[in-house]
């Protein structure tokens, strides 16, 4: 689920006699820095075609409109839902569960991952367990969390935190493992203390890998919150989806899914943006 940086967005242009220039190109510009229309045009075209196909399938009743309502109806549903107070309250609840779970999961994984990466006993004791647990489907824990923490928000953000914990933990440990040997030697030659080496070398040099894990975690946190809401909740977007589908208000159900998609994209975009800002040296 990791979106790896697709193409190199920075380039070094050595100019004659002077220092090389570094240009930070935006994702939508080509090598010479001009806005590249084809990068917008082609995906837009694909989206348009897919939308038209959807609309046609439903309108001409090739697929039962109860199963697949026309896209235009979904859009109308979304617009009318967005004027309802309950829609925004439920959206806020899911967003809150997701973000709280994300923060708890990422911070906990970062701390534990750092301890595993730095202290050998921690590594020997905990890392095998973590890897084993990584391979169990964590959504299976959702009913258990419901029993432990009840119908309220707690079981939801605990699920979100649990599900986004492991990718970050693994990323932190792997990040600390891949630190350049010569750079360590250099720090040792200066007599740097463990903490100094961590702060000045290990932490920044593991940032690119950690961020790959954090990006996954952002997507997973939303999944965790929704799954937990499916299992048992009274509020939230997951509850909305379930309720609308039971009532055969499929267009409304689709509208909530579209809203979730938008939320997911925005959250991912924020982390991606942070990644570019913080790990500006990625790829070098």
């Amino acid at each position: 689920m990791t979106a790896e940086p697709t193409a190199e967005r920075t380039e070094t242009v050595p100019s004659m006699g002077g220092p090389p220039e570094r240009r930070l190109a935006s994702p939508l510009t080509d090598r010479s820095g001009r806005f590249d229309w084809s990068l917008v045009l082609w995906p837009a075209l694909a989206l348009l075609l897919l939308g038209a196909l959807w609309e046609a399938l439903s309108r001409f009743e090739i697929v039962d409109p109860i199963i697949l309502p026309p896209l235009t109806e979904v859009v109308v549903s979304l617009v009318s839902l967005s004027q309802e107070g309950f829609f925004w309250r439920n959206t806020w609840i899911t967003l809150y569960e997701t973000l709280l779970g994300f923060v708890i999961g990422v911070v906990a994984a970062w701390v534990l991952g750092t301890l595993i990466g730095i202290f050998r006993p921690f590594r020997l004791a905990i890392y095998p367990l973590a890897v084993a647990f990584q391979n169990t489907p964590r959504v299976a824990l959702a009913p258990l969390f419901l029993t432990w923490f009840g119908f309220g928000l707690t079981s939801k953000y605990v699920m979100a935190a649990t599900i986004c914990f492991f990718p970050v933990l693994i990323a932190v440990v792997v990040g600390l493992e891949t630190i350049d040997h010569d750079a360590r030697t250099l720090m040792r030659s200066f007599g740097a203390k463990r903490w100094e080496t961590y702060r000045k070398l290990s932490l920044p040099s593991s940032m690119p890998i950690i961020f790959a894990g954090v990006k996954q975690a952002m997507t997973l946190a939303l999944i965790g919150a929704i799954v937990a809401e499916f299992v048992g909740a009274s509020e939230g977007m997951g509850v909305m989806i379930k309720t609308f589908n039971f009532q055969l208000e499929v267009a409304d159900g689709f509208a909530v899914i579209v809203a979730l998609m938008i939320i997911g994209l925005v959250l991912y975009g924020i982390v991606e943006w942070l990644d570019r800002k913080i790990v500006f040296w990625r790829g070098h």
């Binding site: 070094t12 090389p20 570094r22 010569d182 030659s189 200066f190 007599g191 000045k200 070098h284």
Partner: protein, 272 residues
């Protein structure tokens, strides 16, 4: 025999020894049992002297340098660096590695300032010094650039400036230019020679390049491989200042041939 050089350190210091290695032994543990890397190695460097360790790969030259830097332990012998047993974290000892290891999230200037942060040197003074050093190694105007914007040679210049920042009196250099192309290496060697002649620091320099060692050094410790043992310590009686045309100086060619002969002999013995 050694010609006095123009910028020799004061007489009182001339005989003082900055690095003394006596009876050094080092054995590595490996899966196929212990491997003797260094056997009974003796040599020294006097204050302000440029000494090279030369030998084929596997002669333990890099191991010896890391032992002198206090970065790896040794089995027996004495390693005295500036009057103290070898240990890391000393301002007066600077090490430069084959790779420049510039941290990519730091600008060139901040990379050069890294040792100042760890040695907790005065910030303002260090900044001034970093600026001076960057000018000295020819990187003025590149202070705010990042490593990936510099060529390999420029990266090693930055690395040299970083090594010099805490003003070490002993420089340990582990094949610093080996990964560079021929032209860049030659040019940097010429600059290193000039730098050494102006700064008169003690340098312990590891290389497998014989003409390079002859060009740079006052003395060359020639080592054979498996285990690393000193074959001979060769005095380089070329005049200073050293200039690039001296690489083809008859005496330099003669010394290179002599060293090559020493190393070739052991290879023939090994092959037999």
């Amino acid at each position: 025999m050694a010609t006095r050089r123009s910028s020799a350190p004061p007489q009182a210091d001339a005989g003082r020894r900055s690095v003394t290695v006596e009876g050094l032994h080092k054995t590595y543990g490996s899966r196929r049992g212990p491997v003797e890397a260094v056997r009974d190695v003796d040599f020294d460097t006097r204050d302000g002297e440029f000494v090279s360790l030369v030998g084929p790969s596997g002669c333990g030259k890099s191991t010896i340098l890391h032992i002198v830097a206090g970065l790896i332990p040794y089995d027996t012998g004495t390693v005295d660096v500036g009057g103290e047993p070898a240990r890391p974290g000393r301002r007066e000892v600077g090490i430069m590695l084959q790779k420049p290891v510039l941290l990519p999230w730091r600008s060139v200037q901040d990379n050069v300032l890294l040792p100042a942060e760890i040695y907790r040197l005065d910030d303002g003074a260090s900044r001034n010094r970093a600026q001076e050093l960057l000018e000295m190694v020819g990187l003025q105007g590149f202070e705010d650039k990042h490593a990936w914007e510099l060529s390999g040679g420029m990266q090693q210049r930055a690395s040299l400036a970083r090594t010099l920042l805490p003003d070490p009196s002993i420089l340990l250099m582990d094949e610093p230019f080996a990964a560079l192309d021929e032209f860049t290496r030659e040019r940097l060697n010429a600059e290193l020679a000039r730098l050494h002649e102006t700064l008169s620091r003690s340098v312990l320099y590891v290389t497998h390049n014989i003409p390079e060692a002859v060009f740079l050094s006052d003395r060359i410790v020639v080592l054979k491989a498996r285990p690393g043992e000193v074959l001979e310590v060769v005095d380089v009686d070329l005049p200073r200042p050293r200039t690039l045309d001296m690489i083809t100086h008859p005496r330099a060619v003669e010394l290179s041939a002599h060293i090559r002969g020493l190393l070739g002999q052991t290879e023939r013995v090994e092959a037999a």
